[in-house]
Symmetry: D2
Subunit: 286 residues, 4 copies
Amino acid sequence: MEPRAVLGTNRYGKSGIRLMKVDRESARHVLHDLTVSVALWGDMEAVHLQGDNTTVLPTDTQKNTVYAFAREHGVGSAEDFAALLAGHFVASQPAVRGAQVDVEVHGWHRLADHSFSRTGPDVRTVSVTVDEDGTRTLSGVRDLVLLSSTGSEFQGFAVDRFTTLAETDDRILCTAVDARWRHLQDQSDWEASYATVLDALTSAFADTHSRSLQETLFAMGERVVATCHGIGEVRLSLPNRHHFLVDLEPFGLDNPGEVFHVADRPYGLIEGTVLAPGVEADRGEW
Amino acid sequence: MEPRAVLGTNRYGKSGIRLMKVDRESARHVLHDLTVSVALWGDMEAVHLQGDNTTVLPTDTQKNTVYAFAREHGVGSAEDFAALLAGHFVASQPAVRGAQVDVEVHGWHRLADHSFSRTGPDVRTVSVTVDEDGTRTLSGVRDLVLLSSTGSEFQGFAVDRFTTLAETDDRILCTAVDARWRHLQDQSDWEASYATVLDALTSAFADTHSRSLQETLFAMGERVVATCHGIGEVRLSLPNRHHFLVDLEPFGLDNPGEVFHVADRPYGLIEGTVLAPGVEADRGEW
Amino acid sequence: MEPRAVLGTNRYGKSGIRLMKVDRESARHVLHDLTVSVALWGDMEAVHLQGDNTTVLPTDTQKNTVYAFAREHGVGSAEDFAALLAGHFVASQPAVRGAQVDVEVHGWHRLADHSFSRTGPDVRTVSVTVDEDGTRTLSGVRDLVLLSSTGSEFQGFAVDRFTTLAETDDRILCTAVDARWRHLQDQSDWEASYATVLDALTSAFADTHSRSLQETLFAMGERVVATCHGIGEVRLSLPNRHHFLVDLEPFGLDNPGEVFHVADRPYGLIEGTVLAPGVEADRGEW
Amino acid sequence: MEPRAVLGTNRYGKSGIRLMKVDRESARHVLHDLTVSVALWGDMEAVHLQGDNTTVLPTDTQKNTVYAFAREHGVGSAEDFAALLAGHFVASQPAVRGAQVDVEVHGWHRLADHSFSRTGPDVRTVSVTVDEDGTRTLSGVRDLVLLSSTGSEFQGFAVDRFTTLAETDDRILCTAVDARWRHLQDQSDWEASYATVLDALTSAFADTHSRSLQETLFAMGERVVATCHGIGEVRLSLPNRHHFLVDLEPFGLDNPGEVFHVADRPYGLIEGTVLAPGVEADRGEW
């Protein structure tokens, strides 16, 4: 009999596992504050079609594994922790063909030996995929909000019937960086690697005289692949957080780039990939 | 000279354009409350590398176009409105090779001829892509929260060292449906098509005795492709909103499936694609 | 010795207790989906100053009590459930002089005997306070979003050096009602009372030709105290969700009240209390 | 004729005014990134009852005033800016008897002369009220997340039928400080005053061996009123962000205070006022 429908791509897992691991080897405690998400895929046809759960490792078990591994192996760098978990699920479950482990690392500033205050709003991210093609390791950052109060222009753009925007040679440029970069191989020091990329992103943003957010995006990506060791590809998603100069003329006042209305919506959204020369873009979904 | 970096895939546009269109042809007003997002791609190398904005249609202009088209052409069905906009950008801008227009449709309940109350939390979605391969039209819904207070079990799953979950033959099943479906051709009546799919999703959820959320997912997708006209593919993302039975024994009370703790995080996440027989999965990113 | 500081007003409790109670007496299940928050106050000086916890009923115990009471007494109307809990804490803990129990009731639409879909965005609220002055019972609603597409004007307002707003005799009026009303005594049927007040609020909104949101606010409050049994006081907080007419003239188009930009921030905020004649405003904080 | 309803307390204004003021006197720009909300009250009976808007200064005008004042007077300290605005509305509008201006100050870290990155998640707050009783100035902070990984216990609490919580002599203590403090007079340097209070709050949190969050709350408030110049009263709202030790015994592992599940809801909420000796609590609502 002809089936009425066919199962396509599928995956499942536990999302939003909140883990705090405290390293207490010395009186000077170290925090690892993570949000972990696991996704698994493989031989899951019978689960969907016949309600046969034989191949399903419950998402509850995935959660338990995250907590147990934190105790058994420690957390260390999030990239290593994610790889350990992803590898475990693929190796230990015959039906699992691939696993993706995503981690958000929440930052804390040390106040004293065992007291801390949360930093932000930027969050460090990690995504490790293990499947038949091997291991793909992405590091990233989101909600890194950067602003230049001058040194940004936007001119010479295409004009049509619906254009009302005036050209400007001096505006505020503000964005919340969401970036991910792909490592060509394991880094010897993931923490140092992250710090280097963050510095590349922020310094390129600050250094670039911007003629468009697109130009800034490329400059940021270029700085990363050109100066950071072992990074083959960067994907950047940059919302343009518009700061509009307020018209103060009705009140008899000028406004030489001083008073701005900060808009929420709509916002521009500039997305782009920057590759190291000779590196091909990854084919999978990030 | 060797470049330090190469531009890969990229796109840009305006997101979060909030449009309210009121049809006032009769005293009985009709609301179209939309959030529209536009993304364009094409010949944008010089923009990124040389700061040459000649090919950039400003995102501000895209926003203006949305408002002007709402007046000039009306909104009608969101699928038609999105297709009109996407087609316009590709046809009118030589550098633009493709456009994607995403729309969220916010629902209102009529109180009187010109008075309304917002419905929800579910939101209707539309995504239309126009490029060299033609037009792809997706309809969808997000935040459609469904719950069954019985008729759901979870047993016979894989067990390993980290398993503590007990099997159950009666639990609450609750999810917030995020679904998108691909039309094989234009529908003659997009509103009727949407209503039919919504009914298929909710009735399949309600009818299915569930042995896992995966089985429910497939049943929902199958119902759509098997009974709704012209739908080739459905992608479902179903968070498992856990309701945990509270242990009341310490207080001398039993708890026969009556009192539950509703958890926020972590949550299960079940994702899957269901295809009509003979239809190939779309290769692009949704 | 002179103290360095003095303890003033204080209270403590558990917030955000998520309870789902399923009534399974018949095959046609009934859901009570609540978020409960408890606050207690009383003789807590030694807790704060000497770290003496003798008088502290842990917030964990408060949470347990909510779940156990749901099984032992059922939920019924949220007003009764909140009163039962608040009374219990005051009666059973010698150090507790007062208790406030706040409840949010999340709505569900029945699909079948044991299947449901969430409604919204409006949420029903209850707040019951028990202390030496007796019991105060507030019912309420939040996020009830209402819109009139005509029948609203705003003219004749004060003008100063900073005024640029034009007068209008036809605008969209939209608000997200946050209302609380105080019962002069227990209602015989809390569910019916709630439905009556909701109908008074929405019908007054829809019926009122509005010359300001303030006028609409008073009309809504007046309708409640004048037509709903046993309500002495209503407090309304009404954000003015601005819908701005888009200027389409640059595109050669008119815009006769049809195309609007929906703004997020800033928004107007109109707050007011309406009392039944002869009723004094409650002195406590809501 | 007897009225059907009576108007009680009321106020209105503009909320969520997003202002970025750039000081460009030198090449080293200075940012003032504020969210400003205005509320006014006074002779507003005719507005509500007769739709007579003569005494209404539109909220749109209030917004314009904020932007114009930023240009005309600069922003400087948020306390001064808020006082200037509140005083203006009361002095210039005969019908306005009182005004409250609330400000949130968003923090930026300097990267270069005109480049910055956002800090957080903590936000500085200011609330200034001007009415017939004079001026009340509150400063504050919200979302200041503090954590101690040891040095916190919770024992000796009241026990009843619903108690299951075990006593502990070592737990994680984590809170998101929401604090407001009242100045007895204007500070000569608002920025220095804020820094001093922040230091008092965080150092008291870090220094205190905590037997309850209530004890920590009092220690924090005491440190402020005892050591910071000119502060009469502090109100603290401290959610208890529970970190639960994960039971790893089923996996053959111990857990000596290392691996925690971070919970979202429910959470404890501890609220209290701390006063300088001899200072009476403010009677108004904060």
